[in-house]
């Protein structure tokens, strides 16, 4: 069997993971809350602190490894997925966390991102989606809503954006979740789920860029409306939401619909029950696509399907070959196939 992450009871605290480096994100940036949530989650996993590796690409979010007291590598733009894959394949017992943003993973690293989702190595991905390029000071990203005026789109963007969940599932990803940076409890709960999932688990964090794209997720996160504009999904639970918890989702022939329990004869039994474990991606994609005002935004674990991980397949194959191959050393290899011996007298023998 391939080596996998072993967990044990460890007395670790948040302080074990705090680095001595000054955190240089802007005051009010959503990233601070995400960092705190991750620092809360790591001690709960039962993984020795030296077995964590935090990997990133380039962008505001990608400074993350410097702010965690773990092994860390800050890579180049878009390539964190490749770094993480190399680390995980080399040493499957490491808990690998990839920190990335919408520019890093949806644009320059889009190719690596979809292939990571497809391959399913056990990597935990936190995708900070603030729908803008922050570190380069305010250009539109592949998740920026069409028509948005930014530094590089003074007339408004002409491009329809990616929906990360749809992209993950379309790339045959097995785990997708979404959280908001305004809800630390939700982040902690979902990050724990992501960590437990064996395979690539991608969590989209709706993050706020206070400087260049302030309140971009306001429709979803605003304190006064959030109960109606968010639905926090839980496995095997009916999809209900709203201030009164009386709204729900039903599946009709035309797709998902919002209904009110108690109106038009709708009862709790009519409400769709969330099944993140289902391999069929149909409802999961529909959930990813929901957005206010027509729908609440789907939060929580949307999809969580079991599948073999890349590293376990590779390492099981290595173990098998080690047991069965007649080649026990490189010397053996060099001597297989057609070889011949030249003797003392220079004559050739077979």
């Amino acid at each position: 069997m391939a080596e996998t992450i072993k967990t044990k009871k460890l007395e670790l605290t948040k302080e074990d993971f705090e680095s001595d480096q000054m955190v240089k994100w802007c005051p009010g940036c959503g990233d601070h809350a995400i960092l705190r949530s991750v620092e809360n989650v790591f001690p709960q996993l039962g993984i020795p602190k030296e077995d964590f590796v935090v990997v990133s690409g380039i962008g505001c979010s990608s400074r993350f490894p410097y702010y965690m007291n773990t092994y860390g590598i800050h890579g180049i733009h878009g390539r964190a997925a490749a770094l993480a894959t190399g680390i995980k394949l080399t040493n499957p017992k490491l808990s690998v966390w990839m920190i990335t943003g919408d520019g890093d993973s949806m644009a320059i690293g889009g190719n690596h991102f979809i292939h990571m989702a497809r391959r399913n190595a056990d990597i935990n991905v936190l995708l900070f989606n603030n729908k803008i390029y922050g570190l380069t000071k305010g250009q539109y990203s592949p998740t920026t809503p069409k028509g948005s005026k930014t530094k590089s789109s003074p007339q408004g963007t002409f491009e329809p954006p990616f929906n990360p969940g749809e992209l993950v599932i379309g790339a045959r990803g097995k785990f997708f979740a979404r959280v908001v940076d305004t809800n630390p409890k939700m982040m902690t709960e979902v990050f724990l789920e992501a960590a437990k999932h064996r395979g690539t688990s991608i969590v989209e964090i709706l993050a706020n860029c206070v400087i260049f794209n302030n309140k971009i997720h306001g429709l979803i996160t605003a304190r006064e409306t959030k109960e109606d504009s968010q639905i926090f999904l839980h496995a095997d639970k009916p999809m209900i939401f709203g201030k009164e918890q009386n709204k729900g989702l039903v599946l009709t022939s035309s797709g998902l619909e919002v209904v009110t329990i108690g109106e038009n004869g709708v009862t709790l039994d009519d409400i769709l029950v969330h099944d993140p474990y289902k391999a069929d991606p149909g409802v999961h994609i529909m959930l990813c696509e929901m957005k206010p005002p027509e729908f609440p935004a789907a939060l929580g674990v949307i999809r969580s399907v079991k599948a073999e991980t890349l590293e376990s397949l590779v390492w099981n194959s290595i173990e098998h070959e080690k047991r069965t191959s007649p080649l026990k050393s490189v010397d053996d290899l060099l001597r297989t196939g057609n070889t011949w011996i030249i003797g003392e007298n220079g004559n050739s023998k077979n």
């Binding site: 030296e50 410097y66 190399g86 040493n91 590779v314 220079g346 050739s348």
Partner: protein, 615 residues
């Protein structure tokens, strides 16, 4: 084909070129002849010459696939200039190779393929056998296709399958011509087609039929014999440069006690390295076929951080894509071996042809001051030792190494004396022990200036690295101006100090004199042959061949000082010569460059050197 004595004519060496349609199995034919040459005890080198397309239109010159073997009684360093024997399975093969055979070459043709239709496809107006173009050649005409069909008649196989073994008929004829034994090849068929006894029988029958046919019709005026070469005693095999590269890396992994990680993306002519390493999971070698060239190298850097022997393999266009990641490797001071099997460029260029034109890219093709070790393998079998050494230097000095090979070395093969891994130099990477109280990410070895390697999972060594400039010793992110200058100089000096750990430059021939010819990488064999031949003729000429490009060997300047003229020869427009001009501007360098997707020929070099001496 230098004649030694008359009658059962004994030769010093010979060059044979097998040519046919790309579906005719010429590579297999050539390989089988190589195996038989090995058993005959000759030294040899081979080179395949095939089109970029898998199956270019049948019967056309573009679709011709060739395989050349040069074998002899003495040391063989090249796959040969011009062929003494050409096997042409169709008119296109003849047309494509007329420029690559000697004036007296023996040409074996399949007359069944020499028909009107094929003349047109090959671009001949008339039958080339009758238009006078073959005057001077001994043309051996054999209806190979018909005779092959006849030979397997009793096996009741269909015509199409039967014709597939016509290459073996031609091989049988050449076996007779060089007094070879068919037995080993028969055994090969038994192994190769174990599951299909009919195919075994068909190939054996056709090979023997070709052999007997040549004998019966007295096809050749003489037969030939080449005595075994006086090779050192030991175990030998035939190896291509790509295989040797893969094996050298596996040996380095075993010797260093590390897992091998190859992150790579398929690219001609480097793919065989990926393919070969993917076959050796029993040695814990992970061959990861990435989604692109960038992921190939970046996954490898991840593996490097995680403590593997990290390797990525590619060719020129791929090296371009890897540039930024090589910079990350320089900055993080992690080990990584980047194998660049050079091909004709720029852009897609000449994918199946060889060039030495990635040198400047390897040296300087990155943003910022980004020094790496650059070295170049000098022969197909040397790829084994060069790959091994590249891994050793990279691991022990914590720095990226670009190993340049090329299409000629990669696909060409030569005789390889098989070493024992235990006899290779030891490899000891600077790994840090758990809880080392003195550990700092950028604390350096005072001699090598390398930092140490702390592997994730090791207790007490948690640290962060990355592409941002770091403060020396502590490894904290630093934008301090003086620190940046200091770190840049350290990274440069670290690579320059490798000169203390590599061999000095050797001079072949007199240690001083009129003319020093200079070359690097894959041109070693042909340069050496040309120089040796001229020296035998009494001409005073010396040669210095470079395997280490950055840093250059310590004694380079001192060697150059001893010669009146320096002539630098390379398969590009003058990249190494300009690098030398930059490093040692006090000398006057002459240059000889060729850029045709073809290797140098011994004759052209000899001519060039002689002319140059007359000036």
């Amino acid at each position: 084909m230098a004649l030694k004595k008359d009658r059962v004519v004994e030769l010093e060496n010979a060059v044979i070129r097998f040519a046919g349609d790309s579906g005719d199995g010429m590579q297999l034919t050539g390989n089988l002849f190589s195996d038989s040459t090995a058993f005959a005890g000759n030294d040899f080198a081979t080179f395949p010459d095939y089109p970029a397309e898998i199956r270019a239109p049948q019967g056309t010159v573009a679709g011709v696939s060739g395989f050349q073997i040069h074998f002899g009684h003495s040391d063989i360093h090249t796959s040969g200039d011009l062929a003494d024997v050409l096997v042409a399975m169709n008119p296109a093969s003849l047309k494509a190779n007329m420029g690559w055979i000697t004036k007296e070459a023996i040409i074996i043709v399949d007359t069944d393929a020499f028909i009107e239709k094929n003349f047109n496809k090959a671009g001949y107006k008339n039958d080339p056998r009758k238009d006078g173009s073959l005057v001077g050649h001994q043309v051996v005409e054999a209806p190979i296709t018909t005779l092959t069909r006849e030979a397997v008649k009793e096996l009741h196989i269909d015509n199409k399958s039967a014709q597939k073994s016509k290459n073996m008929f031609a091989l049988g004829m050449v076996f007779y011509m060089f007094n070879r034994d068919c037995k080993k090849t028969h055994e090969f068929f038994e192994r190769k087609f174990k599951a299909n006894p009919i195919v075994v029988k068909a190939n054996q029958t056709v090979l023997t039929a070709g052999y007997h046919f040549a004998h019966t019709i007295e096809a050749f005026a003489n037969t030939f014999k080449i005595e075994p070469a006086p090779l050192d005693k030991g175990l030998y095999r035939n190896v291509t440069g790509n295989l040797a590269t893969a094996w050298g890396l596996l040996a380095a992994a075993e010797r260093s006690g590390l897992k091998l990680f190859l992150g790579s993306y398929p690219i001609t002519p480097a793919s065989e390295i990926l393919q070969e390493l993917s076959r050796h999971k029993q040695f814990s070698a992970i061959a990861f076929q990435a989604e692109d060239e960038i992921a190939g190298i970046v996954s490898t850097l991840g593996a490097s951080f995680a403590g593997a022997l990290p390797v990525t393999s590619t060719s020129g266009p791929g090296l371009s894509l890897k540039s930024e990641a090589i910079g990350l490797a320089v900055m993080t001071e992690l080990p990584i071996v980047i194998v660049d099997v050079q091909r004709g460029g720029p852009s897609t260029g000449l994918p199946t042809k060889s060039e030495q034109s990635d040198l400047m890219q390897a040296l300087f093709g990155r943003n910022g001051e980004a020094p790496v070790i650059v070295m170049a393998a000098i022969s197909s079998s040397d790829c084994f030792y060069s790959a091994y050494e590249a891994a050793k230097l990279s691991l022990e000095h914590m720095t990226p190494v670009i190993l340049l090979t090329d299409g000629s070395l990669a696909n060409g093969s030569e005789v390889f004396r098989v070493p024992h891994v235990a006899d290779l130099p030891s490899i000891t990477p600077p790994l840090v022990e758990a809880n080392d109280p003195n550990f700092k990410p950028y604390l350096r070895d005072p001699k090598k200036l390398s930092r140490s390697w702390a592997i994730p999972g090791t207790e007490g060594l948690r640290h962060r690295i990355g592409g941002l400039e770091k403060e020396n010793i502590s490894g904290n992110v630093s934008q301090d101006p003086l620190n940046h200058q200091k770190m840049s100089k350290i990274r440069e000096e670290k690579v320059n100090r490798i000169a203390n750990y590599i061999s000095e430059l050797d001079v072949i021939g007199e240690e001083e004199g009129e003319l020093l010819v200079v070359s690097w990488g894959g041109t070693y064999g042909v340069m050496l042959t040309a120089v040796e031949e001229l020296r035998k003729e009494g001409i005073n000429i010396s040669m210095a061949h470079f395997k280490y490009i950055k840093p250059l060997p310590k004694n380079t300047r001192e060697v150059f000082a001893r010669f009146k003229k320096i002539l630098v020869c390379e398969i590009n427009l003058g990249q190494f010569v300009n690098y030398l001009r930059m490093n040692f501007p006090e000398y006057n360098y002459h240059q000889y460059n060729k850029l045709q997707g073809l290797p140098f020929m011994v004759t052209e070099l000899k001519e060039k050197f002689t002319d140059f001496l007359k000036k």
